[in-house]
């Protein structure tokens, strides 16, 4: 359920970038999200706290990955 609560981030990203942004821009954002997640996952703090930090950025990364996948397949990235 938490993933779906954070889904609001994914919805906002799709509204802002889907169908409008250049593929290179989506790739750049995806790289940033991935880098941020990697950094958070490497923090040497309590595992539960670390996971709660990673949780929302993983949704952001998923959203940009989905947009990139849609642009590859030609599928409309937004409604």
């Amino acid at each position: 359920m938490a993933y779906m609560v954070h889904q609001r981030f994914a919805s906002a990203i799709r509204d802002a970038y889907g169908g409008k942004a250049e593929r290179s821009e989506i790739q750049r954002q995806l790289d940033e999200a991935r880098r941020t997640r990697d950094w958070l996952e490497a923090l040497e703090i309590d595992g539960q706290l670390r996971a709660s930090l990673v949780e929302p950025i993983a949704i952001v990364e998923d959203a940009f990955r989905g947009l990139l996948g849609a642009s590859r397949t030609g599928r409309d990235a937004v409604r």
Binding site: M4, V5, V54, D62
Partner: protein, 266 residues
């Protein structure tokens, strides 16, 4: 909105905190900011009264106040609702944590025929933190595992949490639903050792895949590969619908109306 409204709201919340559940019915207007219930839909008054009763059962000493409630320049009341108590009973299928809690939620109220429409303003991480604090969501490092308890959160609350709004979003895909009932109770795309917290079913072709919280996210992958945008939850008795393309959430009653339509066409 005036100081008299502030006094009235705080008085009604005081009555609720003292155990008078009817105060919620006097407080809450039938409509939300963006929710105008249809003839066969529950009013906001009924929805809030139900939540108020559920919360009271889970925390008999629950107290709610909005100590900083004040009229704003926009003609509405603004403040932070503070819920305090001891979580000593089950809530939505989750056993009690036994812990004292203090939850703070920014709210906006507008008046509606002598009662009030309430809008809670919570960012997703704050909402998740609250759900975790009362045991409705597992710790972040256990999200991919099967749930240990039969938690079923009311559809209406899920809609608000998932979309940030109470009104249904438009979704033309609902008209294209072909199947509603699953034929399997596992994710066939997962390996034999994989686990998942919940399963979702595609309403176009009936594909069943593991949910977005799982490690493999096969339901979402199915949408990305097939373009079939609508899925329903088949976890326990859940029947809510999610549209990946429209980011739209529909309560179980939408599924039931679709099933009635399909039965009529058969």
């Amino acid at each position: 909105m005036t100081d008299a409204d502030v006094t009235k709201v705080r008085s009604l919340l005081g009555r609720y905190s003292g155990g008078d559940l009817s105060a919620i019915e006097e407080l809450i207007a039938p409509e939300f900011f963006t929710y105008a219930p249809g003839a066969d839909e529950p009013t906001a008054t009924e929805i809030f009264a139900g939540f108020a009763a559920d919360l009271r059962a889970a925390a008999p000493d629950l107290a709610i106040d909005i100590p900083d409630l004040a009229p704003g320049d926009d003609g509405r009341l603004h403040g932070s609702a503070v819920l305090t108590g001891t979580h000593s009973g089950p809530l939505f299928g989750a056993t009690s944590t036994g812990r004292d809690f203090r939850i703070e939620i920014p709210v906006t109220l507008r008046t509606a025929n002598g009662r009030y429409a309430v809008n809670a303003e919570l960012a997703p991480p704050e909402a998740v933190a609250i759900l975790r604090s009362i045991g409705l969501v597992p710790p972040a490092d256990q999200m991919h595992l099967p749930l240990k308890e039969p938690v079923v959160v009311p559809d209406f609350l899920l809609k608000v949490l998932f979309t940030g709004q109470v009104a249904d979003k438009p979704c033309p895909h609902l008209a294209g639903v072909r199947v509603t009932q699953p034929t399997t109770d596992r994710c066939d795309d997962c390996g034999p050792d994989d686990v998942w917290p919940a399963l979702r079913m595609c309403l176009t072709c009936g594909h069943v895949g593991c949910c977005d919280t799982s490690t493999n996210k096969h339901a979402k992958l199915h949408w990305e590969q097939s373009g079939h945008p609508l899925m329903r939850s088949i976890r326990m008795d859940e029947g809510w619908i999610w549209c990946y393309e429209d980011s739209a959430f529909f309560q179980r009653r939408t599924l039931e109306s679709i099933e009635a339509r399909l039965a009529g066409n058969a």
